[in-house]
Amino acid sequence: MIEDRDLEGLAPRLGRRRAGEVDPEATATAVVGRLRSERPVVHWWRLPAARRMVAAAVLILAAGLYVARSGPDRPVGQVLVPVPVVLDELAAAELVEIIDSLDVDGPVYELVPASLHDLSERQLERLLENMEG
């Protein structure tokens, strides 16, 4: 009667001989070649990191606009330039177009916060409400 340990000792050898006939280098070359031939061209603005950076830039700009436009002489919570988009779905060119369309002038730039952390909880809440429409 075969023991458990004998079985477990043999099992790692299953398929080993035939696996040894498969060349990892040749396999890698074939797989990567096939991937290359079927892979769509990846533009830099489609890369996750680049898209996140652009999206973050737009978000911060929108936050700055919010702060600027909801000063003491304006009704609280009124955002004049909504950002009614799903940022992650936009290409860089589309984001640039949105940024260009924003009515940004001097005072706004002075008030743009360094990050979303500069917004109060209330300001952040209103910003998100407005962005969600």
């Binding site: 075969i2 079985l7 299953l14 696996a19 498969v22 990892p24 797989v31 991937l35």
Partner: protein
């Protein structure tokens, strides 16, 4: 294009590949080819083992976005390979995938018990066979096996127990 670090994790290699680094994909294939080939061979893959291994890797890269890491890259890859083998058999239908006569000659010098074990493994029900190979051949933890096969750790242990019991009966 920079070469990946030798100790780069699967996650790092996958991220590099998704950023366009082909060397990262090459490294992933290099690391796992033999394990995948051995697993598929033990499951009864035929003369087209090379093609099957390539197909499994290709499928894995195409759906790399769905890899979450719960089961570990190797377990995830082996299950994809197992599915590729099933698809191949389905397409082949009545065509015999295993040219047993030729292989028996090739394996004449192999230990008799190992040959009998190979035949025994092929007789196991699919779930028992997968769990046994992932555990005993590949040395994976039950948690990784359960994650890859979308079952519970307890169920994976039971399948393993039954597989061992059945193999011992076949081999006695």
């Amino acid at each position: 294009m920079s070469l990946p670090e030798p100790e780069a994790t699967p996650f790092a290699l996958i991220e590099a590949w998704r950023s366009g680094n082909e060397a990262a994909a090459t490294e992933l294939v290099r690391r796992h080819t033999r394990a995948l080939a051995g697993f598929l061979a033990a499951k009864g893959a035929g003369d087209d083992l090379d093609d099957l291994v390539q197909e499994a890797f290709f499928r894995a890269f195409r759906r790399i976005g769905s890899f979450r890491g719960e089961a570990g890259f190797r377990a995830w890859l082996l299950v994809i390979g197992s599915n590729a083998l099933k698809d191949l058999r389905r397409r082949a239908r009545r065509r015999r995938v295993l040219p047993l006569e030729g292989r028996e000659q090739d394996e004449a010098q192999e230990h008799e018990l190992l040959e009998r074990l190979e035949e025994g493994v092929k007789q196991l029900p699919p779930m028992q066979r997968d769990v046994f190979l992932l555990r005993a051949q590949q040395g994976l933890e039950y948690e990784a096996i359960a994650g890859a096969l979308e079952t519970s750790v307890g169920a994976a242990r039971v399948h393993y127990h039954h597989a061992v019991k059945r193999l011992k009966q076949i081999l006695k």
